[in-house]
Each structure stands twice: as C-alpha cells, then as structure tokens.
Subunit: 413 residues, 2 copies
Amino acid sequence: MPELFNVLPPQAAKDLFCGRLSPLPGEERIPTWDALGRICRRDIFSPSNLPAFSRSTMDGYAVRARDTYGASEGIPAYLTVAGEAPMGRAPEFALASGQAALVHTGGMLPEGADAVVMVEQTQQAEAGTVEVLRPVAPGENVIQVGDDVKEGALLAPAGRWLRPQDIGGLVAVGITSLPVAPRPKVALIATGDELVGPGESLRLGQVRDINTYTISGLVQRAGGTPVSLGIVPDDREALRRTAQAGLDQADMVVISAGSSVSTRDMTAEVIASLGEPGVLVHGIAIRPGKPTILAIAQGKPVVGLPGNPVSAMVVFELLVTPALHKLAGCVDPPGRSRVEAYLARNIASIAGREDHVAVRLEQRNGATWAVPVFGESNLITTLMKADGTVVVPLDKLGLPEGEKVTVDLFGAG
Amino acid sequence: MPELFNVLPPQAAKDLFCGRLSPLPGEERIPTWDALGRICRRDIFSPSNLPAFSRSTMDGYAVRARDTYGASEGIPAYLTVAGEAPMGRAPEFALASGQAALVHTGGMLPEGADAVVMVEQTQQAEAGTVEVLRPVAPGENVIQVGDDVKEGALLAPAGRWLRPQDIGGLVAVGITSLPVAPRPKVALIATGDELVGPGESLRLGQVRDINTYTISGLVQRAGGTPVSLGIVPDDREALRRTAQAGLDQADMVVISAGSSVSTRDMTAEVIASLGEPGVLVHGIAIRPGKPTILAIAQGKPVVGLPGNPVSAMVVFELLVTPALHKLAGCVDPPGRSRVEAYLARNIASIAGREDHVAVRLEQRNGATWAVPVFGESNLITTLMKADGTVVVPLDKLGLPEGEKVTVDLFGAG
C-alpha cells in the first residue's frame, strides 16, 4: 500500500488550483458601516469633492496672503478683524484687502481669504485689529476643495478588503451603502469511523472531531461562511452523497479526509467521481500536509484535507485561504503577520519538501527567538503552544540554530 | 490660546492609563465553537486524557516491539497476523508473543502491542503471516494515552485570546462550552457643530462624521462592542449629558473631540467634570495625535481623541486598543503585523516626539520598500492609500532614505 501519487511543490499546487477559480457571481448591497472585512464588489468613485469647501487646518486668522508679505515680529502686518468664521456654516461675510477673520481648525474660509495664519504667529492689538508676525503663502494652513478626494476619483477599487479607514473614507463622501462580494459558503465534511462530535461521550477507540472546528475558524478568518455537514463514516456512498449535498448548497467543499491510507484513497475516489475536471492535485511536497487533494467538480472547488488537525490547518492557510480570497474577488487580502526571529534549535528537513514547523516566540536579551514546538506527532496542543510557523524551503536540508528566520504568525482568529 | 498642557511620551501615557484599569467583572458562558476571538475568562483544565487510548500514527502492523529486535531485510521477523484493529472501536483481541495486528492511522492498538511497524517496512508473506524488515522500539509510531493532553493539565489559561487551534483543542477533550470575558462596550461620541451624519446632505461648512465609523471598526477589531451615541454639538451641557449616558451604559467612553482648541478645551473640561480621579493625561508626545485626553471617571476609562481621523486612528491603536484588552483581561493579544522594509524617502521629525508616518509598501527588485504617503494634512485618504505606519522614535530627529525600518501594518479589520 505505498503512496503512489506524485507530489507537487506547494506554490505550483496553489497556482494550478487558484488559477482555475473565478470570483463568485452576484453581490450584496449593505450599509457601509457593516462592510468591515467585506470585499468591495465594484470600483467605487467619489460622488463629490472632499472637502467640499476650503477648510482651515489651524486655529488662527484667515487672511489674503499678500497682506502678510514682509510681516515680522519687528514690523507686524496690522489687519482689521472682519468677524469670526462659524463652524458648520459658510461665513456670511467676505474678506476685503487688509482684513482678517478668526477661524477655527476645520472651519470654512470666508470668500476672499486664501491662507491662514496660526494663532501663535499673531498678537492681539487694539480691539478689532490683529498683528500678524509672519508672512504666509497662498494656500498655507488650508485644505483646498477636493484635496482629500476629487469628485469622480476612484475611492475604493473592486476587490478591496475593506478596513476601518476605507469605511471612514466612504462615509466621508456620503456613500452609505455599497455592493460587496458574497461571502463564499464552505461546506465542511469530516470522515472517519472513529470520529464523534464534541458533546458525545467517547468509547475506547473513538476520538472527537477537531477539524470541523479549527477549519470553521479559518474559513471565517478568510472571509467565508462555514456550513458543517457533520461526520460521515468511512462509507463511499455516504461520503459521495454528503459531498454532493455540499456542492448543491455551498461554493466550496472541504473534506477532512481521515488519516489512514484506505480512507484517503476512498476520499480521493469520491472526489474524482463528482465530475470534471476532477482531481488537479493529489499530494503536495509539504510536511505536514502531504496527502492533500485539490479538485474542481461541477464548477466548484473541492478540497481533501489531511485528517491530522495540524496538517489540515497548515494546508488550509497555505492553499485554501487564497482560494477563498479568489472566490470573493479579493485582490489585496491581508497578509499573514510575520516577525523575524533567531532559530533556537536546528530543524532537519529533506530536499524537495517544504517543512512548516510550529514555533513559539521567546524574548532573550532583547532579541526574539523562535523555539520549535516538537511533539511525538502533530498534536493539536502543538499548535496551542505555538505562536506561528517557520518554513524550511523546498531546496534546503534544514535550518541551523541561530539562523535568522521569518515566523508566520497565527492570526487573531 | 497656546496649548499649555504638558505632554507625556506615548509609552508612559499608556502605562499610566492601562495601569489604572482592571478586567471587567462577570463572564458569559458560550458554546466553544462560538468562542473564536473571545477571551478565556478562567483557566480551563482538561477533564480527560487526549488521546484516551494508545493510537497508531501510521498505517502498518501493531506488534510487541521485542518480537522485531534483530529483524532486517535479510532476516525478517515472521509474525502471525492475529486480526485487524477496527477504527472507532477497541480491538476484541489481545496480541500474544509472535503476533501482529493490521492497524490504521489513528486506530487503537490491541492489548499487548506496544509499537507499530510502518506498512512500508513489512512484506506480505504467506496468508496469515507478515514479514517485518526492521526492528521498532517500544512506543515507536504510537501516541500514548495523554501524549497530547494529560487529564487535569492546563489547556487554555485565563486571558487567552482564543484562536482556531484553541477551539480545536477544547472540543477535542469534550469541552463544549466555556466562560469568556464580556466584550467591553464602548460608547462613541462625536462632537463638533460642523459634523453631520453620513446620510445627510451637506451645507457649505459642514463635514460628515468619519470617526464614529473608523473607531467602530477598531473597537470591533480589539474585541469590543461599539455603541454610537451620535453627534453632539459644541455645547458643554449637551456633551456632559451624553458622556454621562455613555458612562451609564458602556464600559468605556470615547469622545472624538473636534479639532479646534476651544472644542478640545471644552471636551477636557467636560471629561474633568465627570468624576475622580479625572484626567490622567492631557497631551501626548506623538504626531499625529498630540491633543489626546486619557481619564478615569466613575471607575471607567474616558478617552478624548483628536478630531482628525488619522490622529484618532493612530492614537486609538496605540493607547485605546491595549486598554480594551486590559478590560477584557486579555494577556496575549494578537500583535500588530509587522514587516521590515527599506525607507524610500527621508522622514523629518523632532527630538522628544514620536512620529507615526503612513506608508505604502512597494516591491522593487525583490526588496520591500516603505513609501511615505504624505498629504497636505492628515487626510482620511492618506490612510486608504497606506498599508501601515513607520515610527520615528522619540529620540530621533528623523529617518534617512534607505534605512531599514519596521512597518506596523494596518490589520485586516
């Protein structure tokens, strides 16, 4: 029963798989303030200039700049105070030559004014007059109409993962709703005669399903909606039926395929039976995660993840998260957080295989060290104790202690 | 009207403020699978061993290790196949000396077996017999009872920000619900006569409230629940009333304080009037974000953020996010993502001030460059175009082009 499938490097597997996927059709129109973490579905252009009027960036005096030329502490420019620009309304007066108007940060300049002198560079003279101690150039301390956003300018491109500042920019120009990509629905299936749900009591030989729960979290983090179809016993027909139900109701099917070769073979056969083009990748040059299946059937991606929870998580983050971003049309997904660190122990690998090793971070004398979390095997607690992973590239035989490495941090989830 | 308040370095301001905060009392008991991103309220210990039985990590043959000692390809050990260990049930037979049992990955070892020989290191002999080509040590290819988690072991400490793998580890030992910290409720108040809601049409001189929306996003990202109390005009009594309503219904009050000195002064007075100890910090040695107020009143934190949206976001991430983590009792909040990059332009600063400069990342010949996004002022679109910020430390006069810098990335939100 040796494993005869050919393995692909992870990057090639990802390119092959994601290259066959397209953004899901359709869109949802939702209030802008509910769009955090959603994907902008179409280019959004600004309907107006921001700001819509010339605003002061300082507390001070609006002036005609030329009235201040040559002003100094020794020979100030004396200007007549024509009034105070109110907040939230247009000033009801215009500025004539030789005049100034009190203005607050964010306030609108009166007509005729083209610059603002900071209050710190003025001096109170007799009532109704202000001394300007420094010249200002036209436009100084003023945000002009459209300086932030011009009417018609592209504000948020299609495919943008919307962050707090994007929401802010959209509401700033009065965009109160926008079209976002639908969240990809991901059907999750766990297989294995030994699996039971978390609430059931265990008989000897049984273990609780972990992958449905870890993978649900990763689906949500990637912007998708998990739909659990439960645990299916090692029965070809039952698995085929459940996988078909997944294809009927979701945009992607993820089967965590059991750990034994016979179960994995059954999963591969079931996936292959779902339709053309079928299995694209069966086996990836990665540890953990080698026995991964990537397929397309009935126009939808189908993934067979390894049954081991650590393998399943590593493969999901590397190959399935990008696939979900592709389905959502996201062009700038948030990258995984990374930190640089010194490796605290040798890691052995073999050429032609990409190793992902769980590490925890430790501070020693002001430097960050990555300490490999080894276990008897790939146990879920390995990941609970870890802060992220270090990758040993395909072409390396390992990494030596003391090497500077990049740690891909586990996200906040 | 010069600004007379003394400014504190950001770190000192944070320590002073967060040092006065304690985790909110109470807890919510929720299903484990809904606890992603929530904070574990109490130490969670494992009620059982994981695994609860000795499991094979390979497809192969369960054996008594001593029966394989000395085995080689030339002189294999011949063992009688006593049966096949089923998945999900305890084998109904025990292994006698000289016997082996077919076992699948994850399957339970029969009584008497203490190791597993990988199938690749065996050979089919006559029916009912298997040839073992390599010796195994006791425990080889076996996960022992409790190897992953021991009964009574600390599984998730109080204060843990729960990630997908933590959810997985908890369900693995049958923990289907757990106590989590309540989400801190944050009342948001925007002040300014010039502000209107995003759906209203603008008169000249008016601008739309941005901060309520950007800060709502940051509150959610920090694990809190935003409660918007709307826009309050520049009216001392109205602001005081609304701030009190915030203290009555939320765990923290955040006022985005308007940009002009007079509005800021009014906000500071209102915050000071809410109760003891009152204002702890008024002014921080940071740009943008100097006119920040940190206070405690009626036992709850009250923050006056600068009105400028960029300043408000910078200050929030630096000072308010840690305060929210403190209220939630979170001891290991997810760090902000960081990348290293080369600075693409000189940045000027002054000694005694920490500058946070928005940058976008660019790839040039395989290296990452941080390109400062400068604007006329701190405009919301500066942040929309940026990927993160570079910090010029307090004691530096700037950073030169080409310097290796750390970019704090904006989160996924």
